[in-house]
């Protein structure tokens, strides 16, 4: 990562934890996970709480849907680290790689339900343009999305508009295909806490 303290500035106990995770899992801790261990009282602890609530808290959206939203928002932000991580997690969660790839390649023709398609379009416009209006939201509601589902989708969007920016500003190292699969498996078992 670009700041040396994010590579080496951890307490001895945290460094030991990183080493144990690597030894037992066979995979290095991704930079996204390392970041929240650096001065967790400033950012990491509360960031984990919010992200876990958005991604794993109660919602009418499935975990796969929310991981796809995370991947889609990350694609709009061109965040290579987060696109890869959350594409892999969505593919495992559904499990349906073809559906996820189709949604990220051509949303209009992807084999997904209209409520999810309308929601992804709305999240994409909001993230890309920074603005959205009542008419956009009426389109989403008309597709069969409830107001509560819109709120939940906006929370996912908010979480990944932070993480995408930190991934690219701090320069998270891209993961190998094997590490991506392991990371996705972890996120589906344990979430973001």
């Amino acid at each position: 990562m670009r700041l040396d303290l994010l590579n080496h500035g951890y307490r001895p106990g945290t460094k030991l934890l990183f080493a144990l995770i690597r030894a037992f899992s066979g995979h290095p801790l991704p930079d996204a996970a390392k970041l929240v261990f650096y001065r967790p009282g400033f950012y990491g602890a509360r960031a984990k709480t919010f992200t876990h609530e958005a991604m794993r808290g109660p919602s009418a959206w499935s975990i796969g849907d929310r991981e796809l939203m995370a991947a889609y928002v990350s694609k709009v932000n061109e965040s290579a680290f987060c696109v890869a991580a959350h594409t892999a997690t969505a593919e495992q969660a559904y499990p349906d790689s073809a559906k996820v790839q189709a949604a990220l390649t051509d949303l209009d023709s992807a084999p997904i339900g209209e409520p999810l398609r309308a929601t992804l379009h709305m999240l994409g416009k909001l993230t890309r343009q920074g603005t959205i209006g009542a008419e956009d939201m009426r389109d989403v509601l008309a597709a069969g999305v409830t107001p509560e589902q819109v709120e939940d989708a906006l929370a996912v969007c908010a979480a990944f508009n932070v993480t995408d920016r930190l991934a690219d500003a701090f320069g998270f190292e891209l993961l190998s295909p094997e590490d991506l699969e392991a990371g996705a498996n972890y996120l589906l078992k344990r979430g973001y806490r």
Partner: protein, 111 residues
Amino acid sequence: MPGDDKKRAAHRALVDHVLNAESTTSAQQRARAFNNDALPPPLHTLISKVVARPAQVTDADVAAAQESGYTEDELFELVICAALGQSDRLYETGLAALTQATIDGRPDSAT
């Protein structure tokens, strides 16, 4: 009708703490990074990219900010503030549009 929920409360707790907690940078510096407002160059270049074009942040942007006197811990905090600021604006914009759409859709809204 949209309303407060645990997700929004957790987001607000994160934003409030990052902006107001005792930390390395001043609350004023963090507010400026959060709002991408009134920042001196070259910090302005880095923070503006974090807000608007994060994929285009380079090693040189971070190095220039360090060479102008900012420590790594200060940059850690200010970059987080900038990311949270843009996220917060998007979240609030989306929620406001939803509120307007649901108010407009009520049977008595046309009177």
